[in-house]
């Protein structure tokens, strides 16, 4: 076993199996997060979405949703969930359990032991029937997932963001939905899903994050015993786009929307990923451009021009993407698009006051260091860095933010290529836009 560098105490328990410990005496909860990561490929997103739902529904010892729910309630309302995390070209099954530290419970509650056994059961001893997940439960979850996918359109802005991503990324793993695709559902069966889980647990990369009042050595011992099945991890392919200059389609798409206001999304590509040295400059560009209420888009498009209520830029460095989204009146489309481009152009031309850059840097550094008191946020930061192959700590990133200049931020801005301008336009307003 090897201890690794990073923000947390990290240990390699076996091949592609890691434990990351954040021992803290001042938390009132003990949090465990387990991630099993694989490359994101069509079809596998749908199966992972279903498996996550099925694992929440029962274990052999707690065979049913009700039994599982009552068990976690018995653990003083433990926060238990199984979900899917997507990061660039990878997807992960994420199991989270947060329990109250025994110091704050009546004596004699063997909470941690029961929680540990439960987590093991969730992954290794789920509720099964005749070599697969129970057929009835699979049918229910397929129907529920289909409904959930259909209901995604209720949030009009999220819908527009998803459409823009789909249009930009045809054939790219990052364009696949975390919820899966409705067309995949009929071919998925109960037995195949259980095989999918076994395969994932055998071949996936595993990261376990622990935080709370913990002894790292005891954690290593306990979690080494957790992985009591044969593991033959497949190496995750490194970031294929590293160093590649993006080519952008420069397309404009308008689609009708049943809604009260237009939703505009601009999708950009960038050559900079999380592990690249220019990442800090890219993060600063996002902060200056549109990430927050002090950013230019908020100030210029919303506050000075009154053109919208919501406007924000969003960076997805793991996928080398950036988005700007806004809720607008269709008649303002041309003006809003032009202003978004103008503000990016100004940053690319180096028109950034030094004090604005220092403010953006101070804010990002504060947020990074505030992860000290946010175990879930710290785990996510660490996981993103490791998966990107960066090995960067928060202190490293803070130093890079402090060292960034107007010129390096301008370079990051100049590297952004507008790929897709997408407008979901309320029916009836379409002609107005076309004219």
């Amino acid at each position: 076993m090897r201890e690794q560098a990073g923000d947390l105490g990290s240990f390699e328990l076996g091949p592609a199996t890691y434990l990351h410990v954040d021992p803290r005496d001042d938390l009132k909860t003990i949090r465990t997060e387990l991630l099993v990561t694989e490359e994101l490929r069509p079809g596998r997103n749908t199966r992972l979405a279903l498996v996550a739902r099925l694992l929440e529904r029962g274990t052999r010892r707690l065979p049913g949703l009700r039994q599982v729910s009552r068990f976690v309630d018995e653990l003083y309302g433990a926060d238990f969930s199984v979900s899917v995390e997507r990061l660039g070209a990878y997807q992960a099954l994420r199991v989270t359990l947060e329990t109250v530290d025994p110091r704050f419970l009546p004596p004699g509650e063997a909470l941690q032991e029961r929680a540990f056994e439960f987590l093991h059961d969730v992954l290794r001893d789920p509720m099964v029937d005749e070599g697969g997940f129970p057929v009835q439960a699979v049918a229910q979850e397929k129907a529920a997932l289909a409904n959930l996918i259909a209901s995604q359109g209720n949030d009009k802005l999220a819908y527009a963001q998803r459409r823009c991503r789909q249009i930009m990324g045809a054939g790219e793993p990052w364009a696949l939905s975390v919820l899966g695709e409705p067309d995949d559902l009929p071919a998925v069966d109960a037995r195949g899903l259980l095989e999918f889980l076994h395969e994932l647990l055998q071949h996936g990369r595993i990261d376990v994050y622990l935080s709370g009042r913990l002894d790292p050595a005891a954690g290593v011992q306990q979690w080494s015993a957790f992985f009591d099945w044969p593991r033959r991890p497949r190496p995750l392919r490194p970031d294929r786009d590293r160093g590649r200059v993006p080519s952008a389609a420069c397309r404009t798409i308008r689609e009708p929307l049943d809604g009260s206001q237009g939703r505009l999304v601009l999708g950009y590509r960038t050559p900079i990923g999380i592990a690249d040295p220019q990442y800090a400059s890219l993060a600063l560009l996002n902060q200056l451009w549109g990430a927050d209420a002090q950013s230019r888009l908020f100030r210029v498009v919303r506050e000075q021009s009154g053109l919208c209520y919501h406007i924000a830029s969003d960076l997805e460095a793991a996928s080398r993407l950036a988005f700007v989204s806004a809720g607008i009146e269709p008649r303002d489309y041309e003006e809003v698009v032009a202003r978004i481009g103008d503000e990016l152009g100004r940053i690319a031309a180096g028109q950034v006051p030094e004090e604005d850059l220092r403010s953006a840097s101070a804010l990002l550094q504060t947020r990074l260091m505030a992860l000290d008191e946010d175990p879930a946020g710290l785990a996510l930061f660490d996981y993103q860095q490791r998966l990107a192959g960066s090995g960067r700590t928060r202190a490293d990133l803070c130093a890079a933010l402090a060292a960034a200049t107007v010129e390096t931020v301008a370079e990051a801005a100049a590297g952004l290529c507008l790929d897709t301008t997408y407008l979901a336009c309320p029916r009836g307003a379409e002609l107005e836009v076309a004219e």
Binding site: R66, D73, Y76, G77, G259, E373
Partner: protein
């Protein structure tokens, strides 16, 4: 300073009411490097009348004025104050609720600077006509943006079924018509009348020393002498009693119907620990009956009537009104409504299962303990307790006192099937004939 402690959690809150009337509540955490502060002003969306001194007449306020004021306070004539927070690595935000407007700030170090900026944000006003006109457009965008969000629309539509005509059924941001009635003189008048020390309280949690916080507040108050003099104006919030539940249906562009059932509290008007106790009791009853471990949840989930990501319930028991809301997306709203009402009817007649109640109690205990792992959540919890007249750290002690009989009593008082209001959002193309049950 006054001190209130919870021995079990090892937490203490220090508090003091300054000579100016400002309440200051501090929960120090010496091992943290971050702090979070909430400055809450007792003026919210429900406050639609401004009373001056002993006069019998009130000035009526248009819907959305508290929210409009919150937006405009960020503009300081020299620019948006957000940029000055950022320059110190400080986060800032604001929020208008039914009964208060909250201004929050957090950071690492720089507490005195953060507090100075927070006071300036709330108490130094600059209203110009051009800015107000622009803000009107921005808020109109905000109203339109939420007009097709089924949870938002469903929430207010549900409240309308049991509190028809009350201010709480109107969007916090107001309406396009009410925005037209808000201008710079009105904002100035409201700010001058209600943004006073006696009408505000500060809550801080994290890497701070209580005495230092008090000293910083006193120092800041000296910069705004106006604050220390009561304006003589006040808002009065009459207790709102629920009407027998009505039924409202509207159509939106959604994939599936969205059902919300609402129950008004006929005994609204409590305050202090008894209010917190009632809120916890009804929350435990709701969890015992409709939580993920309940027989209802299991059956409804397996029948496809509810979906885990959208089904939920909440209790909001405030000094002047109380409401419980329950619902989510469903393909079969009539069946879901029947299942909920049948469950409530049985529980009102036969009571709660002791085992279900004990699990709900355990679950709530865990949730209350978890509050103290986040400075941001802590300040909200302190405000929630203090603003209803309870002690800042009363939650856990009150939680221990809630009995099964009390939960059942609240259940029979609030969650009566005959008092149920029904809000249904149906997919737009199906609105003509898919109204669930007849009105």
């Amino acid at each position: 300073m006054n001190r209130a402690s919870d021995a079990c959690l090892g937490e203490s809150v220090f508090w003091e009411r300054l000579a100016s009337g400002l309440g200051v509540y501090v929960l120090p955490r010496s091992t943290w490097r971050r702090w979070s502060a909430l400055l809450a002003v007792d003026f919210g969306a429900l406050d639609r009348c401004l009373w001056w001194g002993d006069t019998a007449t009130a000035q009526e306020l248009p819907a959305g004025v508290a929210h409009f004021l919150e937006h405009r306070l960020f503009e300081k004539g020299t620019g948006d104050i957000t940029e000055r927070f950022s320059a110190h690595g400080l986060e800032v935000d604001a929020d208008t609720a039914f009964t208060h407007t909250g201004f929050s700030c957090s950071g690492r170090g720089s507490f005195a600077t953060g507090l100075a900026l927070l006071f300036e944000l709330a108490f130094a006003a600059h209203f110009d006509d051009a800015g107000v006109t622009r803000e009107r457009e921005i808020i109109a965008h905000e109203i339109r943006l939420s007009a097709d969000a089924p949870d938002w629309v469903g929430y207010f539509q549900a409240l309308e079924t049991v509190f028809p005509g009350a201010p709480l059924v109107e969007d916090i941001a107001g309406t396009p018509e009410s925005l037209e009635r808000i201008d710079a003189p009105l904002l100035r008048r409201c700010h001058d009348a209600l943004y006073r020390a006696t009408n505000a309280a500060l809550y801080v949690c994290g890497d701070v020393d209580p005495e230092t916080v008090v000293r910083c507040c006193e120092q800041q108050l000296r910069r705004y002498p106006r604050l220390e003099v009561p304006s003589g104006a006040q808002v009065r919030r009459p207790v709102v009693s629920p009407r027998p539940g009505g039924r409202r249906v509207s159509a939106l562009p959604v994939a599936r119907p969205y059902l919300t059932l609402v129950f008004g509290d006929p005994e609204a008007g409590l305050s202090g620990p008894s209010l917190l106790r009632r809120e916890m009791a009804v929350e435990m009853a709701l969890y015992a009956l409709f939580g993920p471990g309940s027989a209802f949840y299991c059956a409804a989930y397996e029948a496809g009537l509810i979906e885990s990501s959208s089904f939920g319930f909440e209790a909001a028991i405030e000094p002047t009104f109380g409401a419980c809301l329950l619902g989510g997306e469903t393909s079969e709203p009539a069946k879901l409504e029947d299942a909920v009402v049948t469950t409530l009817d049985r529980a009102c007649r036969f009571g709660l299962e002791l085992a279900d109640f004990e699990l709900a109690r355990r679950k709530m205990y865990g949730d209350l303990v978890r509050v103290y792992d986040s400075a941001d959540v802590c300040v909200d919890a302190l405000h929630s307790a203090v603003s209803c007249g309870a002690g800042p750290i009363d939650f856990l002690a009150i939680h221990q006192q809630v009995s099964l009989a009390e939960a059942e009593s609240c259940l029979r008082s609030i969650l009566r099937p005959e008092g149920c209001g029904v809000s249904l959002i149906v997919p737009a193309e199906a609105s003509a004939g898919a109204a669930g049950k007849s009105a």
